[in-house]
């Protein structure tokens, strides 16, 4: 078996690209959370801007649409005093016949320092990191069905803020695991950080093959799966899943796998409810739960900025270490 080439770390073991949770250890993940904590603290004191990335240019390359992720990456970069260029390429360049590599080469020629990439194909961020000039850092803002590591880290950050630690925690991830890059990153991060148990709850049609190998216990029933759980992560259900025969209907899905006030009671009393957004109210989660006291969904969004600031500054530093 070939060794997994770890593109993400420099010779000193510092973060150089941030492509996946896979390949990173507990110390590094904790380091990201701690760095994010320091940014969050200062931001909360109304000092919003840091000069850490002054003179650096960050390009957001979004080959797929996004509101939240793109906005929080832009804010994070701005608060670190970087110059930001956001490109919404969303298939337009590829439909013109421009390859991924050409897009990257063109951007490189504009003397940028970092790419934040979202792409509909798994492995796109890896590909860019492999082929881009060595001084450029690459951050994966979601690649196909593979990983969305900054989302997972902001979720970890949110969990740690409320629950203080990961040991002893039972976490249930509910919904479309098969198509979810968020779930993959979360499962990896929770296991690395030492959560007691990670569960996935979904019908078989929405679970990837041999999902248990990812380090989860599998449930097909919310009543069993939510028992003794401290954290519930609901995933967004794409409407097109109904057209491609993954599921019969939204109403049946909500009945079986939606999180209602009733079902929330099965979990531990102090369980928190999370969702990477955007929410489909009444499909995977009821409004009463999404807006209720146990929901930390909006905290996740604000924490996203601090976590992305941490990742941006750490990768840029990792590059310096390599020089």
């Amino acid at each position: 078996m070939l060794a997994i080439e770890n593109l993400q770390l420099n010779a000193q073991g510092k973060l150089r690209h941030f492509l996946s949770i896979e390949g990173l250890n507990k110390d590094l993940l904790t380091d990201i959370l701690d760095t994010a904590e320091s940014f969050a603290d200062v931001s909360e004191q109304n000092i919003k801007k840091f000069p850490l990335l002054r003179g650096k240019t960050i390009v957001n390359l979004f080959f797929e649409n996004s509101t939240r992720t793109r906005a929080t990456f832009e804010l994070a970069a701005t608060r670190l005093s970087a110059d930001v260029l956001s490109m919404n390429i969303a298939t337009s360049a590829t439909s013109k016949g421009e390859s991924l590599l050409d897009t990257i080469r063109n951007m490189e020629a504009m003397q940028v320092d970092m790419f934040v990439v979202r792409h509909s194909l798994s492995g796109a961020a890896h590909f860019i990191a492999q082929h881009t000039a060595p001084h450029i850092n690459v951050i994966n803002a979601g690649d196909g069905q593979h990983e969305h590591p900054t989302q997972a880290m902001l979720d970890m950050f949110t969990i740690r803020r409320v629950k203080k630690q990961f040991s002893g925690l039972r976490v249930a991830i509910v919904g479309d695991i098969l198509h979810s890059r968020v779930a993959r990153s979360q499962i990896l991060a929770l296991n690395i950080l030492g959560a007691e148990e990670v569960r996935v709850i979904a019908p078989k049609s929405l679970l990837p093959a041999q999902v248990e190998d990812l380090g989860v216990s599998v449930y097909h029933d919310m009543n069993a799966g939510l028992k003794n759980v401290d954290v519930i992560i609901m995933l967004r259900l794409q409407k097109e899943r109904m057209n491609s025969a993954f599921l019969p209907s939204e109403s049946e899905y909500f009945k079986c796998f939606g999180l209602s006030g009733e079902k929330l009671k099965i979990a531990n009393k102090d369980a928190i409810v999370m969702h990477p957004g955007p929410i489909n109210r009444g499909v995977e989660i009821s409004s009463s739960v999404a807006d209720g006291p146990q929901s930390v969904i909006l905290q996740q969004v604000s924490n996203g900025i601090a976590v992305r600031m941490a990742v941006l500054s750490m990768t840029m530093n990792g590059n310096r270490g390599a020089e």
């Binding site: 078996m1 070939l2 997994i4 080439e5 896979e22 390859s99 991924l100 590599l101 792409h119 194909l121 798994s122 492995g123 796109a124 890896h126 590909f127 082929h131 690649d143 196909g144 069905q145 593979h146 990983e147 890059r181 993959r184 990837p208 093959a209 041999q210 999902v211 190998d213 990812l214």
Partner: protein, 426 residues
């Protein structure tokens, strides 16, 4: 041209030959084994001391990329690579551009092969016109033009009624159907084996059932139509079982596996390295082990290269958007020798799987070194080691997961129809 190959270790499994000796060739045929015919004076003498002398290899699936895709490779470049790898007969799948669905395309390929000095190039006819899966091709005319079999390549054949009628029609002319089983509804947009690795890397999966379901459907139609079918490029353990059962039941079936499937599994895939992107996908270790048993006990009759040379751009991109396929001709011999080394096959069996078995499936006069046989011969040094790099590699397609690896086993001479088409170092 009279050639003598002296003092080699001659292995000809078809004729039960496995001994030290010399081989004599004249007028394109084998004219002497061990002993030269009276008055034989060689124009060319090949010293095969310490080398293996065996029938030239016969490949059941070689994409030469012409006509239509000369940016990937040319008939000239790939027949040269084939000769350097010991192959003396190549079957060309119908998915060229234009598709091999008219005698004109067959003639074009045969003419070009002749001009490349590689006459044993056998086009396989498209089963349906333009491989569109609706109207039958003119199979009879294509057979008369020189097509050796019919096939649908990796193109989906969605309509079972069309497959049934095509098989009935092919059976009327005793045409062999070469069938690559894959149910497209199940393989969907997949690019990797549906299993733990695909799940981990978020790659859309192709379940083994995509292959076995297509295989079973075709088996039922063989039962009904009597069409001879060769199943190409098997990848899963269940497929090996199904072929074994069909053979016990007496169905006219045979099967092959691509050499890389006997060596690589999904666990070997370096993350997102597009050189591992191949259809059918590299499957689990359990599948690979079953394929090895199948090749060992004869359930799988032969090994093909499934040679698919690509240009650099075809493999440059995010894994799912890259084109599948491996440039494989030149690694076939060293990988066969690895099977011998790991005791899966004897050397004679390995040679058989690459020569007489595929020749028998096609019904061509090749794969043996008996007196009077066409002189298609391969001479190789089983222990010579070489590194795969730009200097040693002949194919235009550099797309192999074995790039930069050291291989053992190198062809020194290839003779096709009594003519030396490759000689190492010249």
């Amino acid at each position: 041209m009279r050639i003598e190959i002296v003092n080699g270790h001659i292995i000809d499994p078809k004729n039960g030959l496995d001994q030290q000796g010399s081989l004599y060739i004249a007028d394109g045929k084998i004219v002497g084994i061990m002993h030269a015919p009276d008055g034989f004076i060689a124009d060319t003498s090949i010293n095969a001391q310490g080398h293996i002398v065996c029938p030239g290899f016969v490949d059941l699936s070689t994409r030469l990329r012409e006509p239509g895709q000369s940016h990937k490779a040319t008939m000239k470049s790939e027949t040269k690579a084939a000769a350097s790898a010991g192959f003396t007969s190549l079957c060309i799948p119908p998915d060229t551009s234009p598709v091999i669905d008219s005698p004109a395309v067959v003639e074009l390929i045969e003419d070009k092969a002749e001009r490349c000095g590689y006459p044993h190039t056998y086009p396989i006819a498209a089963l349906t016109q333009k491989l569109a899966g609706t109207e039958l091709s003119s199979m009879h005319a294509l057979k008369q033009a020189g097509c050796i079999a019919v096939s649908h390549g990796h193109h989906a054949l969605q309509n079972l009624l069309v497959l049934r009628r095509a098989m009935e029609y092919a059976a009327s002319y005793d045409l062999l159907l070469i069938y690559c089983p894959q149910e497209s509804a199940l393989s969907n947009e997949g690019c990797a084996h549906e299993g733990a690795m695909a799940s981990r890397y978020g790659l859309p999966g192709i379940p083994a059932a995509a292959e076995t379901i297509a295989l079973m459907q075709c088996m039922e139609l063989i039962e009904q139509t009597g069409c001879r079918v060769h199943f190409q490029g098997l990848s899963s353990a269940r497929s090996v079982d199904l072929i074994a059962k069909a053979k016990v039941a007496g169905l006219p079936v045979s099967a092959d596996v691509a050499m890389h499937q006997l060596h690589l599994t999904d666990q070997d895939m370096s993350p997102y390295d597009s050189h591992y992107h191949v259809i059918p996908p590299l499957r689990s270790q359990q599948d690979r082990d079953a394929l090895l048993v199948g090749i060992q006990n004869g359930t799988i009759d032969s090994i093909c290269s499934d040679h698919q040379p690509h240009d650099v751009d075809a493999k440059l991109g995010a894994f799912p958007e890259t084109e599948p396929g491996i440039s494989a001709l030149e690694t076939v011999l060293p990988l066969m020798l690895r099977l011998v080394e790991q005791k899966t096959l004897t050397l004679a069996q390995g040679i058989e799987k690459l020569s007489s078995e595929p020749a028998q499936i096609l019904g061509i006069n090749a794969g043996g070194l008996a007196l009077g046989n066409m002189a298609d011969v391969c001479v190789f040094n089983a222990s010579e080691s070489w590194k795969i790099n730009a200097e040693t590699w002949q194919s235009r397609g550099k797309n192999t997961p074995f790039w930069q690896e050291t291989m053992h086993g190198k062809v020194t001479h290839t003779i096709q129809a009594g003519k030396v088409i490759y000689s190492a170092g010249s």
